[in-house]
């Protein structure tokens, strides 16, 4: 198989998923790129390969998800063969934000993640309706405190600013303060039932409640249209705006293709790759706002294929990618808590984005503290020769012949990490470091350690911060 096919597959799996071991890349590349894209885009048609019933047997808190939700989503990200289904959950979780620090109700948060898993690749309109009725969101952005005659604008504003239109586009504002008010009026009555207290039998998921008596039935004018709008009417108006097409296209681009400027700059800074954005915008309208159609076009585009290593990996991508690579957590065991600690130390605690704006991405993931955690986590993992994934890398390299030159050792490790590309300068340094002993014999006692050490230095490189 052509090395480039595998390299391209490595790229697809890092972006549409959380990376894959070399063998999986080989299998998928043999199946073909477009076929793999289709498989990823149609998760329900394929097995998840997770043995979830067995995992639930040991992670007993997954029963009704009263607790254990971070563990559950983490388990899925690591183990699901339907990688895009999990990646899209993370995508929406970073945009349609809620946070456990305010909600403190895992069963309610779980329902929202399920919404993303179910509808995250479908129509953006349906997703916006779903999130507007999602009890987690209704509570998080206070729509339950918004009443006929006494609106709370929190949800109405963020729906426009952070979930659909964005503040502005091409230097123009996308909506006025009056639009925010009218939008908020249309969502009055979209509330939640009073919750069952945590004592004595634990938390229950919150429930959506539409209260017609608290809904403002008056006429509203929103984005130039006038009528007795309810929330769904507002969403119908929102999704047909060019600004929404731009907004969602830029988000898809930033998450799946390359780091561009972040949301607060979108009003005044045009996309770096306008051609790709335009392509996505057209597909958005052509497909009736279908995310799957947009992603199909995106993954098969040259812009995507040529965007290798142009994104700084998020902490969750780093952690999950590393765990998938080394093959940890294929079976249930104690200690999953420590994975969330790592997420926290690296700056991306699942279910706890810092604000309704989600996480700042790109180079903002990295500071002195998070960089050290990131490098040490990856370095400690890949250099642990007890992990099955590390063992399999060692075996695959050993199978290539009786000895390896320092160049072949470094290149072989880079290949096994999913055809990682590094600068020639960095490669030279790694080769030099491994040159002291000259050729390494693959049947020698310390071959394991030699490979482990080479892997450790590779994941400590600047290049490995990217995907």
């Amino acid at each position: 198989m052509a090395e480039n096919d595998i390299a391209l597959m490595g790229h697809l799996m890092r972006r549409a998923g959380f990376g894959a071991q070399y063998e999986e890349l080989e299998t998928r590349a043999a199946k073909g790129y477009e076929e793999t894209v289709e498989e990823l885009l149609n998760p329900k048609d394929h097995p998840d390969g997770m043995d979830l019933d067995l995992a639930e047997r040991y992670f007993i808190e997954w029963n009704h998800f009263v607790r254990g939700v971070p563990e559950y989503i983490t388990w899925r990200m690591i183990n699901s063969a339907r990688q895009l289904e999990e990646k899209i959950v993370l995508f929406w979780h970073g945009i349609l934000c809620i946070s456990d620090s305010k909600l403190q109700s895992y069963p309610t948060e779980y329902e929202e993640l399920e919404l993303f898993r179910r509808d995250g690749l479908g129509s953006f309109r349906d997703l916006l309706v779903g999130i507007s009725k999602d009890p987690a969101m209704v509570y998080y952005l206070d729509n339950c405190l918004s009443h006929k005659g006494a609106i709370n604008e929190n949800y109405g504003r963020e729906l426009l600013e952070l979930f659909s239109l964005g503040v502005g586009m091409d230097g123009e504002f996308n909506y006025t303060e009056d639009d925010v008010k009218e939008c908020s009026r249309a969502f009055t009555g979209w509330t939640i039932a009073n919750s069952i207290p945590q004592q004595p039998y634990g938390r229950y998921a919150a429930q959506f409640l539409y209260n017609p008596d608290d809904h403002d039935e008056g006429e509203k004018t929103f984005l130039g249209e006038t009528g007795n709008f309810n929330g769904e009417d507002i969403i119908d108006i929102i999704v047909k705006q060019p600004a929404t097409a731009r907004f969602i296209s830029r988000h898809l681009y930033n998450f799946f293709v390359a780091d561009d400027v972040e949301v607060p700059s979108w009003m005044d800074t045009p996309p770096a790759d306008m051609e790709t954005i335009k392509m996505l915008e057209e597909e958005y309208f052509r497909s009736d706002y279908n995310i799957k159609s947009m992603l199909r076009l995106l993954f098969n585009s040259d812009a995507f294929k040529n965007a290798r290593f142009t994104k700084v990996k998020s902490p969750i991508e780093t952690i999950i990618g590393t765990l998938r690579l080394v093959g940890d957590w294929a079976t249930p065991k104690p200690g999953m808590e420590f994975i969330f600690d790592e997420m926290k130390y690296m700056g991306q605690e699942i279910l706890n984005p810092p604000s309704v704006e989600g996480w700042h991405t790109g180079k903002e993931w990295i500071d002195g503290g998070t960089l050290v955690h990131r490098i040490n986590f990856a370095a400690d993992s890949v250099s642990n020769t007890e992990f099955p994934g590390v063992k399999s890398i060692i075996k695959k390299l050993a199978d290539t012949g009786p000895s390896l030159s320092p160049e072949n050792l470094v290149d072989g490790c880079l290949r096994m990490l999913g055809e990682y590309e590094i600068s020639e300068e960095t490669r030279r340094m790694l080769v030099d470091q491994n040159s002291k002993g000259g050729e390494v014999l693959t049947d020698s006692d310390d071959f394991d350690t030699t490979v482990a050490e080479a892997l450790r230095m590779i994941v400590a490189t600047k290049e490995y911060l990217y995907a």
Binding site: Y345, K363, L371, D380, R456, M457
Partner: protein
């Protein structure tokens, strides 16, 4: 590096979990106190009285000792608008100094950015703990965050010292900026090198340190020892941060055992730290802020207390004008806020005072507003 030993230094102690304000500084002569706290009450004769109304919990004798020397400002009734009883959100508010809106960056990070705008010293801000608290996390500001002075920097998993030295050497070369590699790469290079440099410099701190003070063996005491080591090494650090593990003071149950243990440990560590600085003639250079995210319910729940609002914080040091500040919130049932102490003293007033009167900074851009200052700095 510039030696700036005389520059004022702020040490922040985050006492996570929400200590029970009502049993920390106890309104022992208020008749309501013993009604609310039938199980958890401290008898008046055991309270370390500050005056006829309030006093410290008996486990806080070391802090009472400092108070008697005039070194402790007790900030009563501290809180923030619209109290939220979530640990995380509440701690976020203390970190970002933004109670109304979800803030992204930390007040101390902004302060560090002000103090060292050209990033001349990678150690202007140092955190001892796991992960950087949001108080120190601010875009464009580099802060060193370490798990302790015996666990520094990258590639700590390499046990063999000479092998690690070699690996770090390669790391430094790999992170050297390369011409034309773009701003993100330059930033990553700089951050990598800063982390390396910070670790290298920090590693020297224990070498020059001798002390007669024997700190406790617990993590918090050891981190405070690290803070002392870093300060005394004269590395130019201006903000030093450490704290207790998340949830430490979260005494929903079994408060009678856990609470005195924790305050005993914290008070001893603070006393040791102060003594250590004093022995090195450096106690005038440092002011300590100790805080928690919120108070606990006035009414106990059986063996513990649930989440509440109004709290108490402490500012400690030679530069501090010791005494009681703010008003103790009323215990009258109709004066409580949904069963909690009603805060009356915005935490940002304390921040503003520390920034202006101690650190010599303009607090308005850092706190994004002006707040009344309190006279607890000499």
């Amino acid at each position: 590096m510039t030696s700036s030993k005389k520059d004022p230094v702020l040490v922040v102690l985050q006492l996570s979990g929400a200590y029970d304000a009502l049993n920390t500084v106890i309104p022992y002569s208020d008749p309501h106190y013993k009604d609310y706290r039938t199980v958890l009450k401290v008898e008046p004769e055991e309270v370390l009285a500050i005056d006829n109304n309030v006093g410290f919990h008996p486990s806080m004798a070391p802090i009472k000792g400092l108070y008697d020397q005039g070194k402790v400002a007790v900030i009563q009734g501290i809180g923030y608008p619209n109290p939220i009883r979530s640990h995380f959100r509440s701690m976020d508010i203390w970190h970002t100094a933004a109670p109304e809106k979800m803030g992204m960056d930390g007040w101390l990070g902004r302060a560090i950015g002000d103090m060292d705008p050209n990033k001349e010293n990678v150690l202007t801000g140092v955190n001892f703990g796991r992960g950087l608290p949001r108080a120190l996390a601010t875009s464009g500001v580099s802060v060193a965050s370490v798990g302790g002075l015996d666990q520094l920097g990258v590639l700590t998993g390499i046990d063999d010292q000479s092998q690690r030295t070699e690996a770090l050497d390669i790391f430094a070369r790999m992170y050297s900026p390369m011409i034309g590699s773009g701003p993100t790469n330059d930033y990553l290079s700089q951050t990598g090198l800063d982390a390396l440099k910070g670790a290298d410099i920090l590693a020297t701190a224990p070498e020059s340190y001798t002390s007669n003070v024997e700190y406790g063996g617990d993590q918090f005491s050891q981190w405070l020892k690290n803070v002392a080591q870093v300060h005394l090494a004269g590395l130019g650090s201006r903000v030093l941060y450490t704290g207790l593990n998340p949830g430490a003071f979260d005494t929903h149950a079994n408060q009678t055992t856990a609470f005195p243990q924790l305050w005993g440990q914290v008070s001893n560590a603070i006393e040791d730290f102060y003594q250590d600085l004093k022995d090195h003639d450096a106690s005038q250079e440092v002011v300590i802020l100790a805080f928690t995210e919120f108070g606990r319910r006035v009414l106990e729940n059986g063996s513990g207390t649930d989440h509440g609002s109004g709290s108490v914080a402490f500012v400690i040091g030679d530069a501090v004008e010791g005494g009681l500040y703010g008003e103790y919130p009323s215990l009258e049932p109709d004066k409580l806020d949904q069963g909690d102490l009603r805060w009356n003293n915005d935490f940002r007033s304390t921040y503003a005072t520390l920034l202006e009167k101690w650190m010599g900074l303009d607090s308005k851009p850092i706190l994004r507003d002006s707040f009344e200052q309190i006279d607890f700095i000499k």
